[in-house]
C-alpha cells in the first residue's frame, strides 16, 4: 500500500545529492596521489566511491518508494538487528586491518558492520518505543519493560563496536539512542542518572586506553608535540587555515601530499576547506544544516510515532556524525575516527547514509497534513 500523497522533500533530496557529488570530487582530489602511489591508479578510490554511490542511490530510491510503515514488523526489525549483531561478533574472527576488526568481507565487497549497526539501532528503537508509547502500554519511563530491553540491546551493540575498537561509532550509536529516548519522553531523573553514569564510563574508555589519552592531550595542547600525537590535528588545522576565504583551488591542496593523514576519509573536510576555502567549507556546513532542518521537519510532521522516531534517529545520525567529524577536523574535539557522511571515502557509510535518507524522504512525503489533505 504505497501512498503517494505528497512529493518527497526537495530540499533534503538536493542537499543529499549535492553532498554526495561534492564528496566524489573531493575523494578524487584527496586520494589521487595516494592512489597512484599505492595502487598505480589515480582513480582507484574514486571508482570505488562511485560504485558505492551507485549502490547507495539505488537503495535510496528503493526506500523512497517503500512505505516506511512496512518496516514496522518485528520479524524484519529483529532479524536485521541480530544479523548485524552476529556480524559484529564475526569480525573478531576475521583478519585485522589497520589493527582493528572493522571489516566484514563478502566476496569482493567489504562492509563495516558498525555502520549497519547505526541503522539497526534506529530501526529497533523506533519500533520498540512506538510499541511502548501506545495507549495502555508501559510508557517510556518503565525501567523493567521499556528502558532495560531498549538500552540493553543498544548498549550490547555499542559495546561490541567499542571492542573493534571504534569509539567514535559506538559514541554515535549512544547519541542516536539518547536522542530518540529523549524525544520519546524520557524523564528528567533518568537523564540525570545517565549523565552521572556516563562520566566514569568515558573516563575509563579514554584515560585507560593510552592512544585515546594521548589524542585528548594532543587536542588540549596541539603545539606541545606537533610531530607526535598533535601531528594529525596540527596538519588538519594548517590545511583548513591555509585555505583562507577562497581556498588554494580545487585539486591544489598541498596538505594532502602526505602531511594530512586520512586525507580522503576522516579528514576530507580539511582538504575541502584548504582547496575551496571558507566559502566551500561554509557551504558544506550549510548543506548539512539544511539536511538537519528538513529531517527534523519530517520528524515533526510525521503521520505516526514510528515515522517520528525513525526520522529523528536518521536525522540525528547524519547531523551528529557530520558535526562530530567537523569538530575533530576543526580542532573543537579530540581526534576520533569517524567519517563525514556523504563526503568521506567509504562504501558502507555512504550506503547506510543514503538508505537512511531514502527512508527519511519517504517519511517526509507522508506527512500529517498530507493525510488530512
Amino acid at each position: 500500500m504505497i501512498l503517494r500523497r505528497a512529493e518527497a522533500d526537495r530540499w533534503l533530496f538536493v542537499a543529499t545529492i549535492t553532498l554526495c557529488l561534492a564528496g566524489a570530487v573531493m575523494v578524487f582530489s584527496a586520494s589521487a596521489l595516494t592512489a597512484r602511489e599505492q595502487y598505480g591508479n589515480s582513480y582507484h578510490f574514486l571508482l570505488r566511491q562511485l560504485l558505492w554511490l551507485g549502490f547507495g542511490l539505488v537503495a535510496m530510491f528503493a526506500m523512497i518508494n517503500l512505505d516506511y510503515r512496512r518496516l514496522r514488523q518485528p520479524k524484519l526489525v529483529l532479524t536485521y538487528f541480530f544479523v548485524v549483531l552476529v556480524m559484529l561478533v564475526g569480525v573478531f574472527f576475521l583478519d585485522k586491518a589497520h589493527a582493528t576488526h572493522r571489516w566484514f568481507r563478502v566476496g569482493v565487497v567489504s562492509m563495516q558492520p558498525s555502520e549497519l549497526a547505526k541503522l539497526a539501532v534506529i530501526l529497533y528503537l523506533a519500533w520498540f518505543l512506538e510499541l511502548r508509547c501506545r495507549p495502555r502500554s508501559f510508557g517510556v519511563n518503565d525501567l523493567m519493560h521499556t528502558l532495560a530491553p531498549a538500552l540493553g540491546l543498544v548498549l550490547m551493540m555499542a559495546g561490541l563496536v567499542v571492542l573493534e575498537p571504534d569509539l567514535g561509532t559506538s559514541l554515535e550509536i549512544v547519541i542516536i539512542a539518547m536522542a530518540m529516548l529523549f524525544v520519546a519522553g524520557l524523564s528528567g531523573k533518568y537523564i540525570a542518572a545517565a549523565t552521572v553514569a556516563a562520566v566514569p564510563a568515558i573516563y575509563f574508555a579514554v584515560v585507560h586506553v593510552s592512544y585515546r589519552y594521548e589524542r585528548v592531550m594532543a587536542f588540549l595542547h596541539p603545539d606541545a608535540d606537533p610531530l607526535g600525537h598533535g601531528f594529525q590535528l596540527m596538519q588538519s588545522l594548517i590545511a583548513v587555515g591555509s585555505g583562507g576565504l577562497t581556498g588554494v583551488g580545487l585539486m591544489e591542496s598541498r596538505q594532502k601530499l602526505f602531511y594530512l593523514p586520512e586525507a580522503h576519509t576522516d579528514f576530507i573536510y580539511a582538504v575541502l576547506c584548504e582547496e575551496l576555502g571558507f566559502i566551500g567549507g561554509a557551504l558544506v556546513l550549510a548543506l548539512f544544516a539544511v539536511y538537519a532542518w528538513r529531517g527534523l521537519e519530517a520528524c515533526f510532521r510525521a503521520r505516526d510515532n514510528f515515522g517520528r522516531f525513525l526520522a529523528l534517529g536518521i536525522t540525528v545520525m547524519v547531523a551528529s556524525q557530520a558535526l562530530i567529524n567537523l569538530g575533530v577536523v576543526l580542532g573543537l574535539m579530540p581526534t576520533k575516527g569517524i567519517p563525514l557522511p556523504f563526503l568521506s571515502y567509504g562504501g558502507s557509510s555512504l550506503f547506510v547514509m543514503l538508505s537512511g535518507t531514502g527512508v527519511l524522504l519517504n517519511i517526509s512525503q507522508q506527512t500529517g497534513e498530507a493525510v488530512r489533505g
Binding site: L33, C133, R134, P135, R136, S137, G139, A179, F182, V183, A184, G185, L237, I238, A239, V240, G241, S242, G243, G244, L245, R254, Q255, L257, F258, Y259, C273, G277, F278, G281, A282, L285, F288, A289, A292, W293, L296, C299, F300, R303, D304, N305, R308, L312, V316, A319, S320, L323, L326, G327, L330, G331, L332, G368
Partner: protein, 699 residues
Amino acid sequence: MQVPGMDFRSPQIRLLIVAAALGLWTAAAVARLADLQLLHYSDYLARAERQQQRIVEISPKRADILDRNLQEMAMSTSLDSCFAVPAELADNHLVARLLAPLLGLPPEEIATRLSSSRSFVWIARKLPPATVARIRQLNLRGIYFQKENQRFYPKRDLAAAVLGYVDIDEKGLGGIEYQLDGRIRSKAARMFILTDAHNRWYESADKTPEPGSSVILTIDENIQFIAEKELATAIDETRAKAGTVLVEDPSNGEILAMASWPKFNPNAPAGSPPQARMNRAVGALYEPGSVFKIVTLSAAIDQGITTPDEVVDCQMGAIYIAGHRIRDHKAYGLLTVSQILAHSSDVGAIKIGLRLGAPKFYEYIHAYGFGEPTGIDLPGENRGLLRRVENWTPVSVGSISMGQEVGVTPLQMINAVSAIANGGLLYRPHVVLALRRASQVEQEPQPAPRRVVREATAATMRAMLEGVILSGTGTKAQLDGYTSGGKTGTAQKIDPTTGRYSATQLIASFVGFAPINNAAVTILVQLDSPVGLHEGGSVAAPVFRRIAEQVLPYRNVPHDIPVSPAKLRAARRSQASEAADVSDFDSAQLTPAASSSGQPEPISAGVLPVSAPAPTVELAAGDGISIPDLTGKTVRQVTEICVQLGVNPVLVGTGTVQEQSPQPGAMVRRGASVIFQFGRPLLRQAQLRTQAQFHKAAR
C-alpha cells in the same frame, strides 16, 4: 494530531531542544571555521609554507664593479650547479658511482651527501658546461640543475685589495665586495621548492631577483695598473717584504689607485695567504718617520711660531729631552726651517715641536685625521695609534715631531699631505664615485672638507716641500716637465720580539704631489723592509717619479716646466712607432722588461696591459675546445663566452678585441689561457692627434 497515551507538548519541545543543540553546534563550527580561515589565515598559511616549502639560497647575481672610465673590474656570469633530491633517487650508491668520475670527487663523499634526509642537497656547484652536459646525458632521476652566478674579475689581481672577493655563495668577503655587499648583490635570490611530507620535490619556482647596483669606483684602472707595475718593480729591485702605493686626487679625496703588495687573485682567493688579501693601504700601521715633519712644521707655521727662513741651531746632531739624548741622523749646525725639512733634521724638528707645545701639536695631529679612521668606504680600516695628549710622556713631543711614537696608515698619511697640496683642506678619502642601478647613476654624497691649516700655511709648506725635492733628501723625485713637492721618510720598525727599534728593518716612504700649484695628484710610496739601499729618498722617491711621470700626462696635466730634450725625443720615437703599428699599439708594454728599464716611459694614454703569467696553451686530442673568432667583442662578451667554453681569458687593454692568441679555430685544452688584445680602433687616431698637439705645445 492527537495520539492518545503520549504527552504531545513534551516531544515537540524536546524536538526543539534537539534542533537547538544541533543549531548551536553548527554555529560553533561556523565560528571556528571563520576563526581558522579568516582571522588566522596568515598564521596558518605561514605554517603551511614553512613545512611545504624548502627555500634554497642560490648565489645572487652581483652587479658589476666598474672603474671611473666604466671599465669592468668585476662582473658576474652564470653557471649551472647540480643538486639532488635524495627522496627521488633510486639507488644512492649507483648514482654516486656514476657522478664521481665526472665531478672528480670520491664516490663515498657523494653517497654521504645523497643519503641526507633533507629534501635538497647540492652535489657540485658552478660546473663547467661540458660536465653539465655529461651529467644530463646520464638522465638520472632526482638530479637537477640550477643556474647560479659566478663572480669573475677580468683584470685578475688588478686592484684586488680594493675590489675584494666573494665566496661560493657569492657573498662579498673583502674590499668593495664586502663593504657594499648588500647593494651589489641582487635581493632575494632564492629557489622555492615545494615538497610533500616525504621530502620529495614536486615543484620549484625561482623568485626573480631584484638586481643590485653597479659600483663605479674612483679608481682609474690605467693609473692602478701603473701604480701596481711600479710597485712590483720596486719590490723586485729592493727585495722589500711588502709595499703600498696610493694615488689620490688632492682636490676631492678621490683615490685613483690603491696598490698593495703582496697581492692576490680574487678569482681564486683561497690560493693566496690571508696577509696577501689584506688591504695594506687602510689596514697596515707604520711609524711615518720624517714624513711626519710635514705635520710638525705646518702646525708651527700655521700658529705663527716660526717662518721658513728662521734659523735654528741644530746643535751638531744631538738634543736632550727629559734626560734622554736624541741623536740626529747627521750633524747639522745652523739651518733655516726650510732646510730642516729639506735635510730632514731630527733635532731641528724636535726643537720646533717643543716650541709648539704638546696641546697645540696634538690638536693639529688630530686635525690632520691621525688617530681616527678616515672614513674611507672600505672595510678593515685601522684608526692608527695616537696617544691622547694627557698620556704623553715628556719625550713624546720630541718623538712625535720626527714621526715616532705615532702609528699611521698609508691612507691617513697621503690624505694629510693632500691637505697641504690642495691649500689646507682635509677631504674624506673615498673609492666609490657612484652607484648605478638600471642606467640611473647616483653620486655618492661626500661630506664637506675640513680646514686643517690656513691657505697661506699650505702654500708656504708647498714651497718648502719643493725644496726637499730640489735640494734636499728627495732629489730623486724630481720630475721631467713638472714641478713637485714631497717628503722622504725612513723609519725604523719596532722589532716585535724586543719591543725596540730594529736596526735592520726599516720602512722607506715618500709622499709627494705634483705640480706644486694646482696639484693634480698626491702619491704615496711605502716599502716595508727594503734590502740594501733603504732610505726613502733613494728607494721610494724614484717610484714616485716613475708613477708621476706616467700619471700626469695620462691625466692631461699640462707641463709647468720644460721637458728635457732626451725625453721629448723618446716620446716622438714611441709616437712614431705607435703610429706605424696601429693594431698592436701597446705591445711594447706587454713585456715586463719595458717597465723596469729605468728609462722614462713613453707617454701613452689609455693603455692597460694586465700582468699575466705566461699563457699555457696546450693542445690535447679528443678534449679540445675550439676557440671562436671574438674580434670586435667587448670585455664582458669575451668573458662570458670564455667562461662558457671553459677557457681562461687573459684580457689585455680596453675597448674591443683586436687580436687573439691562439688564433681563431685553434684547439685548446680546458682551463687553457687565451690572450685577447683589446683596443679602440676609432678612438686611437683621436688620441694620437691630441698627443701630437700636446707635444707641439710643450715645445
